[in-house]
Symmetry: C2
Subunit: 133 residues, 2 copies
DNA sequence: TTCTGTTATGTTATTTTATAACGGACTCAA
DNA sequence: TTGAGTCCGTTATAAAATAACATAACAGAA
C-alpha cells in the first residue's frame, strides 16, 4: 500500500519548518524561515500548505491564522482534530476525542446538516503556564 | 437589576446591521452598510464589534473572519456557542450543547488547561441546501 | 465650579493575511 | 507530438486588522 505520494520540495520544506516550530506559525513566518532555501513569495507557502493540509500532514488554526504540523495519532481515524491553544506560551496542543466528534455528528444528523470539516479550538492557559503564574 | 449598560450609537448601529443580515458579515461588509450613517473607518466597526462581543451581543466566526448577532438563548448560560456554517447558502446556525461543553471542560480539567474561550464551528451543507441539490 | 480620569470617538497610515492572474517547465499517456 | 495535468515562480492586488495620534464627552472628586 504505497499510495503515499511523494511530497514536492516546497511541501517538504514547509512541513519541516512546521515540525521544527514549537508553536503555530503564520504563512509569513514560514516564508521568513525559508528564504535561505530560495523561497520568495507567500503563494509558494500557501500552495504547499494547501497540499499538506489536504493530505493530513498539517492543520490550519482558524482562530490564529496559523499552521501546525499534525501531531495527532488518531485525528484521521477520528476525523476531528481539536486544539488547546495557550495564550501565554503560544503552544497548541492537538487532541482528538471520539465523544466530541460523536456529539457534533449527532447534532448534524438531527438537523440534516452534512459536515465537511469541523473546527474545535479552545483558548486559555496551559497547565505549565498556570503553574508558572 | 439594570446593569445593562447602554450601547453607544456606533455599537447600536453595528448590532442592528448584524441583526438585519441573514448571513455572517465581515467588518468591511458592515462598514459599507453604515456609510450612510456617517461611519468611514474600519476601526470604528472593529471597536464596536469588540464591545458587542464582550457583552455577548455578537459572536465572531473565526473560520470566516465574519461576525453575527448572538442568536442563542443559552449561549451565555452554557458558556459555549457553536455554529454550523453552510458553504452553499452562507447561513450560520448558532446552537449550544451542554454535553459538548462538558466534554471540552473535562479534557481541560484533566490537562490542567484553564479555558477562556472556545471555538466550535462546523462547515458543511445545511439541511435546506442538501435537499435543494 | 474646575480638575481629572475614563471612555468613546474620528482620521490617517500601516501591517498582516491571502489570492488573482500570468506564463514556463515537466511528466505521462494517447 | 500533442494535450492534459501538475508543479513552479513572479508581480500585483485584495481583504482583514491594527498602530498611532488627536479630540470630544462625561462623571465624580476636590
Ligand atoms: Zn492532526
Ligand atoms: Zn502555556
Ligand atoms: Zn450566542
Ligand atoms: Zn444552506
Amino acid at each position: 500500500m504505497s499510495s503515499q505520494k511523494m511530497l514536492t520540495r516546497n511541501q517538504f520544506l514547509v512541513l519541516d519548518v512546521l515540525k521544527e516550530g514549537e508553536k503555530p506559525l503564520s504563512a509569513y513566518d514560514i516564508l521568513d524561515r525559508l528564504r535561505g532555501e530560495g523561497l520568495r513569495a507567500p503563494l509558494q507557502i500557501y500552495r504547499a500548505l494547501s497540499a499538506l493540509i489536504g493530505r493530513g500532514h498539517a492543520h490550519r488554526l482558524e482562530s490564529l491564522n496559523a499552521f501546525v504540523a499534525c501531531a495527532g495519532k488518531e485525528c484521521h481515524k477520528s476525523g476531528l482534530a481539536a486544539f488547546a491553544i495557550c495564550e501565554a506560551c503560544g503552544q497548541a496542543n492537538e487532541f482528538s476525542d471520539f465523544v466530541l466528534r460523536q456529539r457534533l455528528e449527532g447534532w448534524a444528523e438531527r438537523e440534516g446538516f452534512r459536515t465537511s470539516h469541523s473546527v474545535v479550538e479552545m483558548h486559555g492557559t496551559c497547565g505549565a503556564c498556570v503553574i508558572r503564574s
